[in-house]
C-alpha cells in the first residue's frame, strides 16, 4: 500500500512538471521532457491506483497538480497572489474531488479512468 502511494506521489510531481512545460517549454528538448512527463504521470497513476481506491487516489493526484501549479506560478513565474482566484480554484477542486469520490468506479461508463 505504501509503495502504491509513492507511485501516486511521484505521478503528482510529473503532473506539475508537464503543466509547467505546456506553458513554458521553448525548444525541442523542453517539449520532449514535457511529453515524457505527460506519459510518465499517467503511467505511474495507473500503476499506483491498481490497489488503491480510485476516488482517493485521483483526489491526491489532482490536489497535488493544482496546489503545485498555484504555488510555483507565484513563487517562480511572477504571477500575482490573488486571494479571490485561489478561493475559486479551491471551490473548483472541492467539486472535482467530491465528484470523483462519490462516483462508484463500477457504475461509471464515461467517468473514471
Amino acid at each position: 500500500m505504501k509503495k502504491d502511494w509513492n507511485f501516486v506521489f511521484i505521478a503528482g510531481l510529473f503532473e506539475i512538471g508537464w503543466v509547467i512545460g505546456l506553458k513554458h517549454a521553448f525548444n525541442w528538448w523542453t517539449w520532449g521532457l514535457t511529453l515524457f512527463a505527460i506519459y510518465f504521470s499517467m503511467h505511474l497513476l495507473i500503476i499506483g491506483s491498481r490497489r488503491l481506491p480510485v476516488g482517493t487516489t485521483y483526489a491526491v493526484f489532482t490536489g497535488m497538480g493544482t496546489a503545485g501549479t498555484v504555488i510555483l506560478e507565484i513563487l517562480v513565474f511572477n504571477e500575482p497572489f490573488r486571494i479571490e482566484k485561489i478561493a475559486l480554484i479551491l471551490l473548483l477542486l472541492s467539486g472535482v474531488i467530491g465528484l470523483k469520490t462519490i462516483t462508484p468506479a463500477a457504475d461509471s461508463e464515461g467517468g473514471q479512468s
Binding site: R82, L88, L91, L92, G95, V96, I102
Partner: protein, 104 residues
Amino acid sequence: MDWIFLIFAGAGEVVGVMGINKVNKKLNLSSLGLLFGGFILSFIFLSIAMKTIPMSTAYAVWTGMGTVGSALAGMIFFNESKDWKRLLFIGMVLSAAVGLKLIS
C-alpha cells in the same frame, strides 16, 4: 478565444476517457482512435489556452471540465445516477470556472 480553447481541451479529455473505457472493453482501432485523438487534441488545445491564461487557472479549469464532462456524459448517455450530491459538485465546478473567467 483562449477560454474557448480551454473548453475544447476539456471536451478532448472527456473523449479520451471514453476511449480508455472502450479500450478496456474491446481493443480495436476506433477505441484507440478515441483515446489518442481525444488526449492529443486536449493537450494541444490546453497549451494554446495557456499562452494567455495563467497555468494554475488553466489546469484547474481543464481538470474540472474533464471531470464534469465525464460525469454529465455518464448521466446522459450511460444512465448513471443523477444524485443531488453529484449535481451539487457539478454546480460548484461550473460556478468556480465561470468565476475564474470573470476575474481573469
